[in-house]
Amino acid sequence: MTSARTRPRRRWAYVLDVKGSPYIYIAPFFLLFGAVGLFPLLYTAYVSMTDWNLLETTREWVGLENYAELIGDAYFWNSLVNTVSIWLLSTVPQLLGALFIAHMLNRSLRARTFFRMGVLLPNVTSIVAVTIIFAQLFGRDFGMVNWLIGLAGLDPIDWQAGTLSSHIAISLIVIWRWTGYNALIYLAAMQAIPNHLYEAATIDGAGQATQFWKITIPMLRPTIIFTAVVSTIGGFQIIAEPLLFQSGTGNPTGGSDRQFQTVGLYLYEQGFGRYEFGYASAIAWTLCLIIVVMAVVNFSITRRIKSG
């Protein structure tokens, strides 16, 4: 084969290929993402400043009216409080549990792959299936959880009716699905910790617990921050679990007193229950802002705790 350099026409094609083709390779991603990812997000901002209702033919520009209304909307604040509560109740035990499981897995185990697959299994099952199953387990009259509570001699709990009880039940769904996943992430980070740190500590007479707190946890700091931020982003968008937890009762209000309606669910109620697209878009943008703020706050808190 002759070298490309010897022929001018070939060289021109070569330059075009090297300089131009990369844009063609990344174009599908950016075009599609622009159309179905970025554009909708920006267009949400526009819609949020109109009184757009899908069922009505007229729509008008209302400026920031939707946002003003949102600030005075007790149901929105209620949903925000619920979201924070469910997020806390699910994230803290989840990450602590994940640390514990990772610590257990980070030993010379028989059937290592089996155990790893076992803890990850909940994560691959569908939210819909899992929530249906849990809703049944937490049933008031014939749920298995209340049956166990009854065996212990206590009164049954109307899980769906209570504020705290419904938050706990929903949080358990989240915890069940995500603890194993986070455990594997921690496990990977634990295995990346250089062995000589532990060896040196052993020589210094440090016990296992001391090693865990003084070496493992500090070395995991970036990973813990990462998981905390990711679960913040996920936790604030939670919709499917509260929606399906009350399946069959019709409207997506999160219980008779909106006791477990999250912001995401309120967005759904306004957007696709009442088809108030303008108002729902205002909720979407506000939620987006809250998530960004919370992720940043979370980032700085987890950083401070661990370095302190």
């Binding site: 070298s3 290929d17 090297v18 300089k19 083709s21 990369p22 390779y25 990344i26 599908p28 991603f29 950016f30 599609l32 993402f33 179905v36 990812g37 970025l38 554009f39 909708p40 997000l41 267009y43 949400t44 819609v47 499981i101 030993r107 010379s108 185990l109 028989r110 290592r112 792959t113 697959m117 803890v119 990850l120 299994l121 691959v124 099952t125 569908s126 939210i127 819909v128 299936a129 249906i132 049944q136 014939f142 298995m144 049956w147 069940w176 194993g180 996943y181 992430i185 990977a188 296992q208 968008q237 919709i239 399946s247 759904y268 957007g271 729902a280 878009s281 943008w285 939620l287 987006c288």
Partner: protein
Amino acid sequence: MATITRPFRGVLRPGRSAGFWTYAALIAVLLGSLFPIYWSLVVASQSNDAIAKVPPVLTPGGHLFENIARVFDTTVFGKALLNSFIVSGSVTVSVVFFSTLAGFAFAKLRFRGRGGLLVAAIATTTVPHQLGIIPLYILMGELGWTGRIEAVIVPGLVTAFGVFFMTQYLTGAVPDELLEAGRMDGCTTLRLFWHVVLPAARPAAAVLGLFTFMQAWNDFFWPLVVLTPGNPTVQYALSALASGYTTDYTLVLTGTVIATVPIVVVFALLGRQIIGGIMSGAIKG
């Protein structure tokens, strides 16, 4: 980057071998993980009069296949399964292909604006997706796709995570010298992509494909919004089945089994790769 093909760093830590309590704790976790799934199987294998018994029925009965047949007879689960396979399959193929293509460009080609575009792509992974659902819904309406599975396929065709993932992998997996040599021989970048990069990308593509497939299979919210009960994906069909119009709870739980089985099978066969993918992703942070 070889961590993907060799996911388990088989470091046995001396003096930290697992004792009785470790196994006991892990087995307890495992039972907790399995129980809800097991229980759905139990209910799905019973007849309707066995549900809501006190004490609860805890062993499988003999009605599973009969119940499965009833689910397919009385609901749109057959169509829903087909839809889910079409959606998840095309989304997976598309995400893997376009991610590899873009990842190749970002990892191995030099072009103006590369750094900025890469950062832009990565930044989009943090955008909460469902916040754009209202315009997306409007868009699908304009296109006439409301209630059609295109509405679920097209928004899933590319993911920023995929591009990020493949860029990371290809940076290390394909030696620059190999590409240089190919160029010397007069290969176009497209030929390089086809003959060098794609084969080299296979292990990472498999992991990305698995994740994408599972995610698409389990996706619920967007199909709920844009599809119809008559033409649903399997998750939507399941949520509709559970919403109270059926009087037969064994059917609902049989539905959960049907919706879960394909994923559990994939997981059982390829769990090792999935775990490797998660753990290697974590190392890169």
